[in-house]
Every structure is written in structure tokens, then in C-alpha cells.
Subunit: 465 residues, 2 copies
């Protein structure tokens, strides 16, 4: 008995940390090379599909294919849903439509739909013709929704009963769907027209008298989303109301699907990654391994924005050529002016962008936020201005020149903070994702404005002082 306990406690541990991952990976590689299928099966049977998927990411293409074809169909289907798109494409390109449909049949409708939507049209049609009528209709319905909406996110697997049914009948319905619907958190109640009228958390179902009617024990005060709601909005709602699943209704209020928290978490991560990479000037999240040509093409547009902007900066500097020739030392502060302006602008922008994304800042906050950023920039400007005054006055032995540089820097900082905070609000207002605003856009425009301000001050200084 004691031993059984020990065993199950041991099993509880998260199955892979970086070291066990490496070990298992090496074991599997060796066994794959020896084609020792039964040993491989022995290892795989103890692994969670999510762990198998993680291991697959590190295998070579041939090793991956070899391992995948050993997996039982139901495990293969779970592993597939955990993999990144380029790897999925690669694995499926090796299977014929019949084999693909066998794997998809084991999947939840939302995952199967995601995979089918990425297949070449011809293959997708072939696959669809190989799965059951019922599954095909579900997938076709899900395909009809835009992939980044609630309809594109939902699955057709849920438990629903008529509100006039009894609690006992609801339990029978769970039993009937037990295999199809893996995670049941709520039973949904609908009226004769299929419209969603309430839900019963399983806890309440367990505690209810078996004879009572569903409509007498259901919650009617529930949160639902419409099929055409943007997935980012769905994620915000799920987070705000602490839900683990949310029912999806069509425009008539009929229950058509259910979104579970694991898919919502994927959306949150996707949106966060999108924001982060977009801020660094990458149009597509290019983390998964794809060809360097593709990645280069996705990053180049943003580099070209910076390129164009800084050619303008250079051209503007050339207009101040006489001033520069007169006092070469002013160019030593060009990197400083550019960097401080860029960083201040980015700081202001990122806080606003992230706040708008998580809902902590709303459009109604615009004026308050700008005033706030203006004050923060003033404080930092005064501090850095004093510092640069001291350094430049000592370095160049010219306090008047130092004062000019310090004043320029304060103006540049205020300008950068103001633009950095304002631009995300403006983009949000006209319906563009504010995350596109930061570097290189904000940095580049701050460079242009910053150098213009700086060299104008230099010219005035040289003329009048």
C-alpha cells in the first residue's frame, strides 16, 4: 500500500524539466536510430501528450516523422494540437488525406477546424470527405466564422439540456456525452428554440435534488459572447469575470458553441507576443523555425521605416552643415539626444499600449494620462538636463554651450514623452492596434524631431551668443 502511494506521488511531478527533457530526448533519438519501436512505445506510454509535443520540437524532421507514425491515433491527435504550425504543416505533408482524417476524428471540433483551415484547399476537401457526416458539418460551421472571433475559437463539444428537464436527465446527458466532452464545468440550459437561458455549474448539479427541474436550479445571470465578437474582447471578458468557459450564442441567442479557458489563454499569449514583437518591429511572430528568407521579409518593412526616417534625419543634419563645421563638438551629443528621446518616448508609449491592451487604461483616460506623462518627463528632463549641463560645460569648457545642450535635451524629452503617450491613444481611437506605434515608429519620429530641435537650438546659439 505504502508503495502504491509513493508511486503515485512520484507521478505527480511536472513531467519534464530542462534536464529530463534532454535525457528523454537523447534516449528517444538513440532508440529511433535503432528502430526499437517497442522500447519507444514503453517510453511514450508514460508521457503526457504535451510532453511528447515538446520533445518533438527538438527532433529532426525524419526523427519526428518516425515517432509520429508510432503514436496511437488518439495520442497523435492530442500531440498535434500542442505543436506549432510549421511543425504541423511538416508532419501532415507526409500523410495522405485518409490518415489525416483518422487523426482529426479524435480531436475536438475547434482543434480539427484549426488544422483543416491551414491545409491546402484540395487536401482539406479530401480530408473532409473522409470524416463522418456529423464531424464534417461541425467543422464546416466552424470554418464559416472568422478565425479571430468567438465563433472561430469555440468548439461544438458541450453539454446542453432543455430547461424543463430534470436534474437527473441532465446527469444522463453528461453520461451520454462523457467521452466526447472531456472537460465539463457547466451544463447549459436552453429553451424550445435552442436559445441559451441559463447554466448549472457541476457543483450545483451535484447538490441539487435529483427530481428538481433544471430551470429551478440554473443560474440565469450568466456571461455569454456572440459568435462575431473579436477574440481579444472574449479574452478580456473571460479574464474580467474569472470564467473557465464561456458559452457562445448566435444573433438569435441560440447556443452554438463553447470556448474553454485553455484556448483563451492561447489567445492572451498570442496577443501579448504580438504586442511585444510588434513593438520591436516584427510584423509576424516569427519564433517558430521558418526559413530565414521569410523571417527577413517579415522584419524588413520595419527596418525600412527606420532607414527612411534616419535618411531624413541625415538630410536635416546636412542642412545644418555650416553650424556643424563651425562647432564640431555639437555632433558628439547627437547619440545622446537621439537615445534619450527614443527611450523616453518608448517608456511613455509602452505603458499606454500595455494599459490599453489589458484594460487598465481606457480612452477616457487620455487627457489625464498625457498630463501625467508630461510631469514625469519634466522631472526626468530636469534631472538629465542638469547632468548634461555639468558634463558638457566641463568637457567643452563652455557653460553657455552646456546650457544650450541642457535646454535642448529638456525640450526633446518633453516632445518625446508627449508623442509617445499620444500616438497609441490616437491609433486606438481610429481602430488600429496601438502596439504598432512603438519602435521603430516612435523612435524614428523622435529622432527626426529631436535632431531638428537640437540643431535649431545650435544654430540659434551660434547666431546670437
Amino acid at each position: 500500500m505504502g508503495e502504491t502511494v509513493e508511486q503515485s506521488v512520484a507521478k505527480h511531478e511536472p513531467i519534464l524539466n530542462e534536464e529530463t527533457l534532454k535525457e528523454t530526448l537523447e534516449d528517444l533519438r538513440e532508440l529511433i536510430e535503432q528502430k526499437a519501436d517497442s522500447f519507444i512505445r514503453n517510453i511514450l506510454v508514460n508521457l503526457h501528450p504535451a510532453d511528447i509535443a515538446e520533445i518533438m520540437r527538438y527532433l529532426s524532421e525524419e526523427e519526428r516523422h518516425y515517432l509520429f507514425q508510432i503514436l496511437p491515433k488518439d495520442v497523435a491527435s492530442e500531440v498535434l494540437t500542442e505543436l506549432d504550425q510549421p511543425v504541423i504543416d511538416e508532419i501532415l505533408s507526409d500523410l495522405n488525406p485518409k490518415e489525416i482524417s483518422e487523426v482529426l476524428t479524435e480531436m475536438d471540433s475547434d482543434d480539427a477546424t484549426d488544422i483543416i483551415s491551414e491545409l491546402p484547399e484540395q487536401v482539406a476537401e479530401n480530408v473532409l470527405s473522409n470524416i463522418s457526416e456529423e464531424d464534417r458539418l461541425e467543422v464546416e460551421e466552424l470554418l464559416s466564422h472568422h478565425s479571430e472571433t468567438a465563433g472561430g475559437l469555440m468548439a461544438k463539444e458541450f453539454v446542453a439540456v432543455n430547461q424543463n428537464d430534470t436534474v437527473d436527465e441532465a446527469i444522463q446527458e453528461i453520461r451520454k456525452k462523457a467521452e466526447e466532452v472531456e472537460d465539463v464545468y457547466n451544463v447549459y440550459a436552453v429553451d424550445e428554440a435552442g436559445r441559451l437561458v441559463g447554466e448549472i455549474p457541476l457543483k450545483n448539479l451535484i447538490l441539487a435534488r435529483p427530481g428538481s427541474r433544471v430551470k429551478d436550479v440554473m443560474d440565469t445571470d450568466i456571461v455569454t459572447v456572440y459568435t462575431d465578437m473579436d477574440q481579444e474582447e472574449v479574452a478580456k471578458i473571460v479574464k474580467k469575470y474569472d470564467l473557465v468557459s464561456v458559452p457562445v450564442v448566435d444573433s438569435e441567442g441560440r447556443l452554438v458553441g463553447r470556448i474553454t479557458i485553455d484556448d483563451v489563454i492561447d489567445v492572451m499569449e498570442e496577443e501579448a507576443s504580438e504586442d511585444i514583437t510588434m513593438m520591436a518591429g516584427i510584423t509576424e511572430t516569427d519564433i517558430p523555425e521558418t526559413s530565414p528568407f521569410k523571417v527577413s521579409r517579415s522584419r524588413l518593412p520595419w527596418l525600412l521605416v527606420a532607414f527612411g526616417g534616419e535618411i531624413i534625419s541625415g538630410y536635416l543634419m546636412s542642412r545644418f552643415q555650416t553650424s556643424i563645421a563651425q562647432l564640431i563638438s555639437v555632433v558628439f551629443f547627437v547619440p545622446l539626444i537621439m537615445a534619450v528621446g527614443g527611450n523616453v518616448g518608448n517608456q511613455a508609449a509602452v505603458v499606454v499600449i500595455r494599459g490599453l491592451a489589458t484594460g487598465e487604461i481606457a480612452l477616457v483616460d487620455t487627457r489625464r494620462r498625457l498630463a501625467h506623462e508630461f510631469l514625469v518627463a519634466l522631472l526626468n528632463g530636469l534631472f538629465l538636463g542638469t547632468l548634461v549641463f555639468t558634463i558638457s560645460a566641463l568637457w567643452l569648457h563652455d557653460p553657455k554651450l552646456g546650457l544650450m545642450i541642457a535646454i535642448s535635451m529638456i525640450v526633446v524629452i518633453e516632445n518625446a514623452a508627449f508623442l509617445g503617450a499620444l500616438i497609441p491613444f490616437l491609433l486606438k481611437k481610429i481602430g488600429i492596434d496601438p502596439a504598432v506605434a512603438t519602435s521603430p515608429f516612435i523612435t524614428t519620429s523622435n529622432d527626426i524631431f529631436g535632431l531638428l530641435i537640437y540643431f535649431s537650438m545650435v544654430t540659434i546659439f551660434l547666431k546670437f551668443l
Copy 2:
């Protein structure tokens, strides 16, 4: 009947969008001014606590206090857990310890602990002496764990039974705890020593024969976390295995708490925000309204890094003063060299940082990733190099100078991509959050290296060509 249905359908909609938020806000403001308490109560009774919390964020300090003292204690407690820390501090500073403890008594143990841990020590002690012995012991246990570990995240509210109990007894236990534990997803099974040996999802409990033993229907192959596991690790596990809650065990394997998905989502958002703001050079997430002095202080260190780095850049440029005086036009390309280097470095860094954070990239990928980034940078370098050659050769009427600038740019780009991708891996390896690596660190060091490379090339060019 039809009307009832319509009503409940109407109630389903997410309760606040930006417009209804504004309207409700204005209504409440007016009513607060008129001290029309019963009208205010009528509005509040229909709102979800999460919506009340959102409204509170937009009220003035006095309005907020007025509204909070009208709320029933249980709603007040739910609203409080949804608010940001500065607002919580402000509201609680107006309450005496007895009032605070009344609100905390209604909360889950993890939320109560979070709030107590932020109170001034004297107040916290007073509050603790005012709550029940049982609650106090729970809070004191939770306070003993580091706040960013599984122990700091978990709550003491869960349902556990002995593995030898029957399914019927498990259901009785749920009934007993129904009020205390709001969301039950699993019943945990423990042995005589309190060690966790399995769990039963509610679905399986419903479908099990009432007389069967817990140990015969429980899953033993479950994922658990230890009290001292880092919260980021917990979030990764919950995400990887698609969990909605995870049991927490101590070093002896005894069940001591439960972490629910809503808290894990907060961790994920917190970590994403931390990464994003850190990348822009902000040490603390300063989205909530705090004093400009505090915000300025949190942003200044990063500006000083940039400041110091760019003073070094300026000093290096001054060492090339003779070259610059000889050929002033080379400084027109300083903004371009800096910006392209900075952007390329950031792109490479952000992809690695985000990949390491989500687990899509691991340390074992280092060499492959560096090679990948080197290739991408080479492609972008060749493209931008050709472009800058054409532009500068035409602009300055000197193809040889144009070629020098183009070659410098390619070298700068390769250097920036290499550093950008490498530094996050190095930081991760020595246990520092890689997110600190990006701007201003990477940008600033890329500026220094970039200008050094560029002006060295300029000097060689002037000497030999």
C-alpha cells in the same frame, strides 16, 4: 414565459462596454453628489463586482470612498480583490482595522493574504487579531511563503477527502464546503498522512456509483506543484497541461492548497507586462496612477544607462574628430547607423526573450538560434547595404565612400543581431530575467559598438583610399 426568457438573455451580455461604462459612471457620480443612497443601491445590485471595480477606477477619491461604504460587505470584498494596489491602499487607509477585518472575512484566503501583506505592519497585526482563529491561522500560513511562489499564490479553499471514503461521502464533503469553496473542479484524495494521492474531476464524481470508493475512481496520474515553485513555472505548467486548477503539496507530499486558473492568468499578465515594460526600460509596472515622482524614479535608472552609454559614444566620436573635420558628411549617417543597429538588435532580442518566456525557445536552442539570426541579419544587411550604397553614392557623388558606408552597415547589423540574440541566452543561463536585456541595454551597447565600427571604417577609408 417568453418575457422571462428575453430578460435572462438580455442579462447575458457582457455588462459593460466603453459607452455603458461612461453612462453608468455619470449616473453614479450624480447620485453620489446627491447622496441618493437607495438609487445607488438599485444600480449596484445589478452590477457584477468586476464591473463595480472598473467603475471605481474612474471615480475621484471621495466618490470612491462614498461608494465603497455603501456596498454590502460581501460585495465590497469581491470588489476589493479586483482593484489595483494603489486604489486598495487608498480605500483601506480610510477604514479602521475592525472594518478591514470584516471585509477580509468574506474573502478567499489567498486574496485576504495579498491584502494583509500590503498593510502597514501595525495595522496588519490589528486586523489579524480581529478575524477568526481559523482564518488567522490560514493567513499566517500563506504569509510564510514568498509571494511569487506557488505557496504565495495558493488558497486554502479546496475540497479533500480520504481515499478510503465513498463517492457519497465525497459529495457530502462538497455540500459541507459549498459556501466556502466557490469553484469546485476536482475533489482531492489524500491518505491517512494527508498526502495527496489522486483527484476526481466533478464529472467523474457525478458519473461514479455512489457506493464506490474514492480510490477506485480517482485519477492518480495528476500534475501537482510544490509550495516553493516559482509562480512563472506554475503558470507554464498550468498552460502546458491545460489545467483549470492545480493542487499544491509541501515537501512531504501533503496537500496544503490549491491554485485556480484566474490567479494563474493574473500571473501570466503580470509577467507579460513585466517583460514588455522592462524591455522599454521601466523597472516597475507603473500603469496604475501613482505619483509622478515615483514613476520618474522607476524610469530614471534606465535613462541613466542610456545616458552613460551615449556619453561614451560621444566621447568615442570625439576621438575621431580629425576624421570628422576632414569629411563632415560622414556624420549625416550617424543616425542611420545607430537606428538600424538598434532595431536589428531589438528584433533579435525580443524574439529570443519572448520565446524563452513562453517556452517556445529553450537554452538547448542557443546555437541553432544564433545561426538563424546570423542568416536573417545577413539577408537584411545585404538589402539595406545595397540601398545605402546607392543613396550615399548618389548623394555624396562618391561611390567609394558609399561602398565604405554600406560595408560598415552590414558589419554593424551582423554585430547587432549577434549581440541581440546572444545576451538573452546568457542572462537566462545565469538566472537573470532576459527581459532586462533589451532597450536600453542592447540599444545602447549597439550604439557604442556601431559607432566604433563605423568611425574606424571611416578613418581607414580616409587613410588608405
